[in-house]
């Protein structure tokens, strides 16, 4: 027994040690990650973010340097009150903020760097840099911020924001404090614009001093600069569109039908993109984002999904021709509406009757299109089958689904099919008379302005469209093939001419006679969409939305456009005028009809928008009067003016 005591103790200690080592080195040890190794300092070298140019080579977005004070909490040595005062003074923060920020960083990770005070001004940086060495655990990280050369196109250009922890978890490339595209092209072309940051691994000693490159720098990388991109936007046209949209809400999307390039993408109200740069970004972003009335961060050109109204009628005309249920010359009677037996299913405005296709489009006759639509749906015994065929035709114009392009936001819109109504009413328990609203672009049909612009492009091209996109050129790279291949509609080319003639006559003798542009043949279609909101849970009708869809010139169109103005009343009142001006601006480069331009600039819809929030009863449509404003207040260019508040 006596012989065994030491032997047993030795074995016991050996086992305990192996167990402890196993716990420390195997069980409790994560795989070695150099980024978590506090003995290695990681110095990032941020590449230049790619510049953004417009289609005419005009620089829209460049960079400016910025300096972040970063902190690695566990390396911070406690400051005495004098040092603390000096440090806080340099950073322009209070002692309480210092403690709070340090705590926040420590909660994230004591080992990894967190931004302490982001985006110092250049003068603060100069002063601080000298004294930085005194404050252990803090260092300055140079980054580059965006510098917008323009005050327009906030929704197009987007902005950069700090990555959040969710993104870091998903994409370990990003480290806390890094910037990433949040909206617009900054988001959709993040990978191209960003480049790849370079990194240097430096061996530290326990006094936090650098003692040389880690493993002679074999893991170090050089930054790869981001690529410059050219976008399809015409900044002059974009700026003009934004000017026209002032004091209104709505969206304008203009596309080059021959390439699918988006020429302008206007949303109103908008804001100056420089608001979302630098230290003020967070404050401004929440101000913009929380504005649920004006919704300046909501891109109405891409995201506003509404019944398209009358412009959709031309799709029904095309489908009718394709399905061979109507001839160009077939005439239908209109008795101020469409009657099913003695029941009026839709109303109509006053025009001559009966009308053929040309007049039906030009006069926007509701009864004509209800007839055509019913013939399409009732072509087969089964309304569901007719509806499915109708739906497929409509969807071939890029409606009812995402356009699958390179924009950061979008909506599907809605083109119902037979199944949709089977679900709504029960299998086969519905017929064409239930759903006649679709004939005139009301009812279940919904689309966004960019879908309508694309639809106009497809019509202008007589049967095909290129996916609308915003990238024109990437430095040293090609743009995706899908933007170069045409998408064909299911309508034969020959059926387009009569419909286009009808759209041409909208300007010649129809609902937009007053908006003709000398020397340019425009084909268009007005639209007016009823809309409702709930005020204290009472469904209340508001003034109609004003919609206009057009392309020009009639042959080989150069521009297809959709304009949508919330509560603008009838189609040619606001949207038509604005579309006409945009077309002239793009094709001619200047405006000949200054009185028309002045009318748009001096008429505001802001009173109209205030009505639902006033808490008082209000009148709509024909019973309203237009608000006229002083035109000189428009051209002042302060940031708040840009917000249109």
């Amino acid at each position: 027994m006596r012989k065994l005591l030491l032997l047993a103790t030795v074995l016991l200690v050996g086992l305990v040690f192996i167990a402890r080592l196993f716990y420390l080195q195997v069980y409790n040890s994560s795989t070695y990650n150099i980024f978590e190794d506090t003995a290695i300092r990681k110095v990032y070298n941020y590449p230049k973010r790619g510049y953004v140019y417009d289609r005419n080579g005009k620089l829209l977005v460049a960079n400016q340097p910025s300096y972040d004070v970063m902190v690695i909490p566990r390396e911070v040595s406690p400051l005495d009150s004098l040092e603390l005062e000096e440090f806080c003074g340099l950073l322009k923060i209070t002692k309480e903020e210092y403690a709070k920020k340090l705590n926040k960083a420590r909660n994230y990770s004591p080992r990894l760097p967190s931004p302490f005070v982001p985006q110092l001004s250049k003068t603060d940086y100069a002063v601080l840099q000298e004294k930085m060495r005194k404050f252990e655990g803090f260092y300055i990280q140079k980054r580059s911020l965006r510098f917008y050369q323009t005050s327009i196109g906030a929704n197009v250009l987007g902005d950069l924001g700090e990555v959040n922890r969710r993104i870091i978890k998903r994409q370990p490339y990003y480290k806390l404090g890094d910037l990433i595209g949040k909206q617009g092209i900054e988001l959709s072309y993040e990978d191209v614009l960003r480049g790849v940051k370079g990194i240097k691994f430096i061996q530290k000693d326990r006094h936090n001093k650098n003692i040389g490159p880690y493993k002679d720098g074999i893991y170090d990388t050089l930054p790869k600069p981001g690529k410059d991109i050219t976008i399809t936007i015409d900044s002059d046209l974009q700026a003009y569109g934004e000017l026209l949209m002032k004091h209104k809400r709505g969206g304008i999307v203009a596309i080059d039908p021959q390439s699918g390039e988006i020429l302008a993408m206007v949303t109103g109200p908008s804001y100056n993109p420089n608001l979302l740069v630098g230290r003020e970004r967070n404050k401004n972003f929440s101000r913009l984002f929380r504005d649920t009335i004006n919704m300046p961060t909501f891109d109405r050109g891409l995201q506003a999904q509404y019944p398209p109204g009358s412009p959709f009628k031309v799709i029904n005309a095309l489908i009718g021709l394709q399905e061979d249920v109507v001839d160009v010359g077939d005439k239908f009677t209109c008795r101020m509406g469409y009657y099913y037996g003695s029941r009026r299913l839709t109303g109509c405005h006053h025009h001559r009757s009966p009308v053929d296709m040309n007049a039906g489009i030009a006069q926007s006759c509701n009864a004509y299109f209800v007839n055509v639509y019913r013939r399409i749906v009732d072509k087969y015994d089964d309304a569901g089958k007719g509806m499915n065929i109708w739906s497929d035709h409509a969807k071939s114009f890029g409606l009812g689904n995402y356009l699958n392009n390179d924009l950061s936001v979008g909506r599907k819109g809605r083109i119902p099919d037979g199944d949709y109504y089977d679900r709504q009413y029960g299998d086969n328990r519905w017929g064409s008379t239930y759903i006649v609203s679709n004939a005139i672009g009301q009812g279940e049909v919904e689309a966004t302005p960019i879908q309508l612009a694309n639809m106009a492009a497809a019509i202008g091209n007589r049967g095909y469209y290129y996916t609308p996109h915003i990238i024109k050129n990437i430095e040293g790279d090609t743009i995706p093939k899908k933007f170069k291949t045409p998408n064909h509609t299911t309508i034969d080319k020959r059926h387009f001419e009569p419909v286009i003639e009808g759209m041409f006559d909208v300007y010649n003798k129809g609902t937009a006679q007053s908006l003709r542009i000398p020397g340019i043949d425009i084909c268009g279609k007005t639209g007016t969409a009823e809309n409702f909101i709930k005020i204290d849970s009472v469904k209340t009708q508001l003034t109609d939305h004003s919609i206009f869809v057009a392309f020009a010139p009639k042959d080989n169109p150069k521009i297809a456009i959709a304009v949508f103005v919330e509560n603008g009343y009838w189609g040619s009142r606001f949207a038509g005028r604005m579309a006409s001006l945009m077309i002239e601006k793009y094709i001619k480069g200047h405006i000949t009809r200054t009185d028309l331009e002045k009318w748009i600039l001096t008429h505001s819809l802001e009173n109209e928008y205030k009505k639902p929030y006033s808490g008082e009863p209000f009148k709509i449509n024909g019973e309203t009067t237009l608000q006229v404003i002083d035109e000189y207040s428009i051209n002042t260019n302060s940031e708040l003016q840009n917000l249109n508040y």
Binding site: F17, V26, I211
Partner: protein, 426 residues
């Protein structure tokens, strides 16, 4: 000599191989822990790794020297060697040099020598000599006191020189005494006192008293025959309480603040977060750094000379007392368990050979060697991994330093020599 030759090499191969493994691996880790930048000259004696290489060379000379003495020499001269060692320790008070607050070194030119490293084998020789005397009976109080005195002198001298760590090593001789006949009751009392001390510090006197009472009551009921009087039990309880209280007093007033903090860290007594934060930068700093270095090595380590914490010298004393953290970081679990297993094998091999000795002197000496190595191994690695409170003693054959390396080499190879001679013993 002739007789020895025709029997071939008669030294224990296994011990020599294990020794070479430890010394060789130790050198590699010292190289890692002490190099700055690229190593261009391994013999650069301005660097620690260069010096260690010189020490190693001298070690082999020393080994040959030790092995070439007559085995009987060590037994015969044990007392004289012991006296010389004691004198060397006493001499420190007059001629010694202060390093880090401990007066443990002689300075000879640029070299320093630490006599306490040599006092260990001298004490082991003296203890072996005394116990192996035919007159000695370890069961008697008289001999127990005398043999305790043999270890007490060097231990006291070392303690007075402010080297508490090296003093603790002398507890190793308890294993030797126990093997040679010390009564069981000492073991029980010794263990009980350690448990009482820890309980008292960790949970306070009251809870300790309750625990002791429960244990005593159960002992009383389980011992049907020799229960003894209840008074005895009460006496034991009172002594326990008095002892715990004494330990507490000693902890609070008898030791230096840094020692107090080390114990408080080990038992996690400190609850004040501000003080803990301060400790992290002082007493706990070394421990945290070394645990991190070991953990970061993972299963297979970062590779020789590739440890980022070792290269950055994050663990203070990493080439001496904390050399095991370098093993952990660069060689991972594979390396650390190799070191642990090698030490365990070495100690067991020494124990096995000690038991096989015919002469009691050789056996007691061998046992002492095993016990001293064991205590060093346990305290050093236990401390580096945070299992026991920080006690600054080196890891044999691993830690940087000539005195330590030579002290352990002499300790071990005297036994190798004694063992080689067992065939001649009658």
């Amino acid at each position: 000599m002739l007789r020895e030759n025709h029997r071939g090499f008669k030294f224990d191969w296994i011990i020599i191989i294990l020794f070479l493994l430890l010394v060789g691996f130790g050198y590699l880790n010292i190289l890692s822990a002490s190099h700055v930048g690229e190593v261009t000259n391994y013999f650069d004696t301005t660097q620690l790794y260069g010096k260690q290489l010189v020490f190693l060379g001298l070690t082999f000379v020393l080994v040959i020297l030790i092995l070439s003495f007559e085995a009987k020499f060590y037994e015969r001269f044990a007392s004289i060697i012991y006296l010389v060692a004691i004198l060397a320790l006493i001499g420190l008070f007059i001629f010694g040099k202060d390093v880090n607050g401990a007066r443990s070194w002689y300075g000879i030119g640029s070299m320093t020598i630490q006599p306490s490293e040599f006092a260990k084998f001298a004490t082991a020789l003296a203890v072996a000599k005394y116990i192996s005397d035919l007159q000695t009976n370890m069961q008697t109080i008289k001999d127990q006191l005398r043999v305790t005195a043999i270890i007490f002198f060097p231990a006291l001298l070392i303690l007075l020189q402010n080297d508490a760590g090296s003093t603790i090593v002398y507890l190793a001789f308890f294993f030797v005494f126990y093997r040679e006949g010390l009564q069981q009751i000492y073991l029980i009392i010794g263990l009980s006192l350690i448990i009482l001390a820890v309980l008292g510090l960790k949970f306070g006197i009251l809870i300790t008293a309750i625990i002791v009472s429960i244990v005593l009551i159960s002992v009383y009921f389980f011992r049907k025959k020799k229960r003894g009087s209840i008074l005895q039990y009460i006496l034991v309880l009172l002594i326990s309480i008095a002892f715990s209280y004494g330990v507490k007093l000693f902890y609070e007033h008898g030791i230096k603040p840094h020692q107090q903090n080390r114990i408080s860290l080990w038992l996690r007594l400190e609850k004040d977060p501000a003080k803990l934060e301060r400790m992290k930068k002082s007493e706990a700093y070394n421990l945290i750094q070394s645990e991190q270095a070991i953990s970061s090595g993972g299963f297979s380590g970062k590779g020789f000379l590739e440890g980022t914490r070792t290269t950055g010298k994050f663990v203070p004393e990493q080439e001496t007392d904390y050399i095991f953290s370098t093993v952990g970081e660069e060689w991972g679990f594979l390396g650390t368990s190799f070191v642990v297993i090698t030490f365990v094998f070495l100690i067991i091999r020494i124990l096995y050979l000690a038991e096989a000795q015919k002469s009691q002197f050789s056996r007691v000496y061998g046992y002492s060697v095993a016990a001293i190595l064991f205590v060093h191994f346990t305290i050093n690695i236990g401390m580096v991994m945070g299992l026991i409170p920080t006690v600054g003693i080196p890891l044999p054959f691993f830690s940087y330093g000539g005195s330590g390396l030579w002290g352990f080499t002499i300790l071990l190879f005297i036994f190798v020599k004694l063992d080689s001679n067992k065939i001649n013993e009658w």
